[in-house]
């Protein structure tokens, strides 16, 4: 049977009349909440609460596994066993793989199988699981796109867009998954900008935790100072770097309850990629640092930078050691700073320098990995671009804080 166009439309009308119910659409409670969470006046306070929840969950979850079990496992069982059974104590292979034979914890051993594995499995892995778990729940519940809409206007000023908030949040836990999360940004310019900004200005969770113990009264100031730097440098990079910063059209879904199956599946996919991609890079990074130690290259660096640290930044020369250690673990570096005799303002400056200074080895390795998409040229651009930016920022932003103390008459 063939129908004419009019007959087809008549048939459609008939079916629609029998199946579609017409009425006035009224808001449900869920719709009203969905609207309020994207309005700045109500959305920003709620976002603060969600981010507080995010952060508290991260501290509790990662602390439970790292401090509760993994530190004990690595320090009391793995390290002593490895020190006992590994042959060639004192040799360079031993130093690279196991590290300092006198070390009594994996924090200070600096070997690939000790500090390297401890950093990757004992510290970063619980942090990554905690962050991805919460992030996936936010994503699946429909809150993350709303958060992206909320911060979109602000981030557009520096050439990024709302979804840049994901690596920013992740970075507060660990910079490694944060650098990987920059892949969600559209252009190479945005990805490079975001990776550079977070590697320089956003301290990781472990570092923040130690900062809260070492300079509890000044963490707020340090964070505001770093955040200001984030936006100032972001604005400058946006003007300097060629490339596009496109607008995005966000589909904001309705709120819904995340399903356990989906959450676990997504979590597994993301954690699996960390195992296969990030861990080898972290271990390689530790090997490189150890070789630099063994060849005396790091000592040479310390001698070269000593006058600059004391003169330009106004911090004692002893901070050279922690700054070098910061390449492996920034939290360890902050803890080491607390053992050096200096004024509170010098301590605050040193903590800011540790934050701004070279990204930790794991982040550094991720920067190389992310640059690979453009081949060796891409790696070189990513790495040297980030490093050049970093050197300028450390000098200017680190020097500025010294200048602030001089103006205030405390330095």
């Amino acid at each position: 049977m063939r129908l004419t166009v009019d007959e087809r439309w008549d048939l459609i009308d008939k079916i629609a009349n029998q199946t579609v119910k017409y009425g006035v659409y009224r808001h449900t409670l869920k719709d009203a909440i969905a609207e309020l969470t994207v309005k700045p006046l109500t959305g920003i306070p709620f976002a603060i609460a969600v981010l507080y929840g995010f952060w508290s969950f991260f501290c509790a979850f990662a602390g439970f596994f790292t401090d509760g079990f993994l530190v004990k496992l690595f320090d009391n069982h793995w390290l002593p066993w490895l020190q006992e059974v590994f042959p060639g104590k004192g040799g360079w292979v031993y130093y690279i793989l196991v590290g300092d034979p006198m070390a009594d914890n994996c924090f200070e051993a600096f070997g690939m199988l000790t500090s390297g594995l401890f950093v990757a499995i004992g510290v970063v892995l619980p942090a990554i699981v905690a962050f991805y778990l919460f992030l996936i729940i936010l994503e699946d519940s429909g809150y993350l796109p709303r958060l992206a809409v909320l911060v979109d206007t602000v981030l557009h000023k520096i050439g990024l867009h709302g979804f840049a908030v994901v690596p920013m949040i992740l970075s507060l836990g660990c910079n490694v998954p944060a650098v990987a999360a920059t892949r969600t940004l559209e252009t190479r310019k945005q990805r490079f900008m975001m990776a550079t900004l977070l590697a320089i200005f956003i301290p990781c969770g472990a570092q923040l935790g130690i900062m809260l113990e070492v300079i509890p009264g000044y963490v707020g100031f340090v964070m505001i100072y770093l955040l200001a730097g984030f936006f100032v440098l972001g604005f400058i990079l946006n003007k300097l770097i060629p490339g596009k910063s496109p607008e995005i059209l966000l589909d904001v879904p309705p709120y819904q309850m995340p399903t356990a199956r989906n959450v676990m599946r997504k979590l597994w996919v993301r954690v699996r990629s960390f195992f296969t991609v990030a861990i080898p890079f972290v271990l390689l990074g530790v090997v490189i640092v150890n070789i630099m130690y063994l060849t005396g290259f790091l000592d040479w660096l310390a001698d070269v930078f000593e006058p600059i640290l004391c003169g330009w930044f106004g911090v004692p020369k002893e901070t050279v050691g922690p700054l070098i250690a910061a390449f492996l673990r920034k939290d360890l570096a902050v803890a080491q700073l607390s053992a050096i005799e200096m004024s509170t303002y010098q301590l605050v400056t040193s903590v800011i320098l540790v934050s701004l200074y070279f990204p930790c080895v794991a982040t550094f390795a991720m920067l190389i990995k992310e640059g690979r998409e453009g081949g060796w040229k891409g790696v070189a651009q990513y790495l040297f671009g980030s490093l050049a930016t970093l050197i300028v920022v450390v000098f200017l932003w680190g020097g500025l804080v010294h200048l602030i103390w001089i103006i205030l008459g405390v330095a």
């Binding site: 009425g23 009224r26 808001h27 449900t28 409670l29 009203a32 909440i33 609207e35 309020l36 969470t37 109500t42 306070p45 709620f46 603060i48 609460a49 969600v50 507080y52 929840g53 952060w55 508290s56 969950f57 501290c59 509790a60 979850f61 602390g63 439970f64 401090d67 509760g68 079990f69 004990k72 809260l212 509890p216 009264g217 707020g220």
Partner: protein, 165 residues
């Protein structure tokens, strides 16, 4: 009791509760800014994120108070739900971290905590949000009430449509 009276009681309840939440939030902000702690009986206002908790409670209190006008409106109710959720986030995370803290044995202890150590984790003092938590749960009743009102309205509307037809 008719629905209007129930909404009237809710309005009074949340205006008092909102004032309490706002006051506690303001006190925590003040203590956070000045770097002081306060312990009052089994309640304490201290800790690393005192200022943030204060800010969240302050805004939650403001949300409660701003939804008193036209209380039964769905957007106003949504604000109350959001304010309660903000309290649940703080209190929930506090309970979650207490549970996780109570399980491992500590730096010098064994793998798992002793029974005394386990119980000690749950002892007072507690942060104000834990005390506010049960009072904020009243919102669940109003969510249910709003749902009932909505269902009743939809039923009446469909009846009217049927009569017209």
């Amino acid at each position: 009791m008719d629905t209007n009276a129930k909404f009237m009681i809710g309005r009074m309840y949340f205006s008092i509760f909102g004032l309490v939440v706002l006051g506690i939030g303001a006190a925590e902000i003040l203590l956070g800014v000045t770097g002081r702690n306060l312990e009052w009986g089994i309640m304490e206002m201290s800790g690393e994120f005192l200022l943030w908790r204060g800010l969240i409670l302050f805004f939650a209190g403001a949300f409660y108070l701003s939804s008193i006008e036209n209380f039964s409106d769905i957007h106003q109710q949504a604000k109350i739900v959001m304010a309660s959720m903000m309290i649940w986030i703080i209190a929930g995370m506090q309970i979650f971290s207490m549970i996780l803290e109570s399980i491992p044995g500590g730096e010098e202890g064994g793998w798992l905590n002793t029974f005394e150590g386990f119980l000690a984790t749950y002892s007072a003092p507690y942060i104000p949000s834990l005390f506010l938590l049960p009072f904020s749960l009243v919102v669940l009743y109003y969510i249910k009430l709003l749902k009932e009102v909505e269902e009743k309205r939809l039923k009446e509307e469909s009846l009217r449509t049927e009569v017209k037809a």
